[in-house]
Symmetry: C2
Subunit: 243 residues, 2 copies
């Protein structure tokens, strides 16, 4: 099991620094590690989860299902993300979380976790911070889906995914990161049909903005993609706490 004191994620710049004592306190909260295969449901909408997770590696999706079978992907889940907060503060989850690749997660017990928060104002503040960041990310997605045409939306989503993956060290070769999602996931995230998403991806590829094939996303020129994405990317270097 990976110890928080030597967490491979913490060295990346997007995460707030942690004192030695804080790392050791987190380690005491850690109940274990969870490894799951692609397609595993980690948290189900409506459930009252007893566990909270921090993603160590792998990717997933947060989504809501509608009664008619439609699905809205609310956000993508990448290493460093904290999942299950809703079940922690509200009574139950309002969305589901599912893996799309192999994932390794840090497991915390809900009760122990909030017990710790009681005595640690700084960590409690971090939790609010995390929730506020999540809201901001969803609000940006809403803005893209609500106001932009398909090509801009898809460009925005790819840009966001690339930046985030790169920020946690997944950019092995320059301009290239793993991207294990299906086109259907992206379509459900941006409110587009699968067919139109596919056409839009081809369009972006032919314009040399981004190529997503065989589980890898290649972006030759971030600035050009950012221009096509329509929103000045306010939080390229947005810092966040890591728990």
């Amino acid at each position: 099991m990976i110890k928080c004191t030597q967490c491979p994620l913490r060295r990346f710049g997007i995460f707030e620094p942690f004192s030695r004592e804080d790392e050791e306190a987190m380690l005491r909260l850690k109940a274990g590690e969870l490894v799951v295969a692609p397609g595993t449901t980690l948290l189900r909408e409506g459930s009252k989860a007893a566990q909270l997770y921090t993603v160590l590696s792998g990717m997933g999706v947060r989504y809501k299902l509608l009664s008619d079978g439609q699905r809205q992907v609310v956000n993508f889940v990448l290493p460093g993300d904290f999942v299950g907060l809703q079940a922690g503060v509200m009574d139950e989850m309002r969305h589901s979380v599912e893996s799309v690749s192999d994932m390794r997660l840090c497991v915390f017990d809900r009760l122990a976790f909030f017990g710790f928060m009681q005595n640690s104002p700084e960590r409690a503040f971090d939790l609010t911070w995390l929730a506020a960041i999540e809201e901001h990310l969803v609000a940006e997605a809403l803005t893209s889906v609500g106001q932009q045409p398909a090509s801009t939306r898809v460009a925005w989503a790819l840009l966001r995914l690339f930046r985030r993956a790169a920020a946690v060290g997944l950019e092995r070769e320059p301009g290239r990161v793993p991207m294990p999602f299906r086109q259907q996931d992206l379509a459900d995230a941006m409110g587009l049909s699968l067919v139109h998403t596919n056409r839009t991806l081809r369009d972006l590829r032919e314009r040399g903005l981004a190529t997503w094939q065989e589980g890898e996303l290649t972006v030759p020129d971030l600035d050009r993609l950012a221009t096509a994405a329509g929103m000045e990317d306010s939080d390229g270097g947005l810092c966040r706490p890591l728990l």
Copy 2:
């Protein structure tokens, strides 16, 4: 100035109960009251606000502006809502807040507020709770905008506004609440053009689901509107803290 110990909002069921001491502690944090006219910008995207507000009366919108002048209304602001949290925990606001009617707001000093949170784990928890609820609301809006056709989206928005307004005592006559927004606000919230929003409202009116005219929203049958809104309203009676 209204004292927190006799806050007119707290008697409504959607808010978490508060102990007498808590009310008095909040009162000490209260820096004053702010009254604004319609169309006033309370918080501007990119600003580092020194104040946080709780809405006592009136309505407004939270929105993001795009470089090309498009606007996404992220959420509507109603009595009991807490605004400015983002500027509190992140460095600056990621959206703007503007009044659409006369508004009265409770003003808190940012520093004093977070100082208080340090010593009050329960209130700090409430803050996280609020942020999580906001995220949930935005995620539901994203789901509606991303997956539903225009009529369903508009029905959903009206249902949400009606429920929320009624929950803070604005339902003077049965089935009727004030609704001071412009059609453009609703259009910008649901990612529709003004023209199509107008047609959709007429459609809902002719189907007897909801009538919104002259600043008043009338809903003859909540259940029928809820059916038209496409999402089982998970949080009709969702409780929230009031700060």
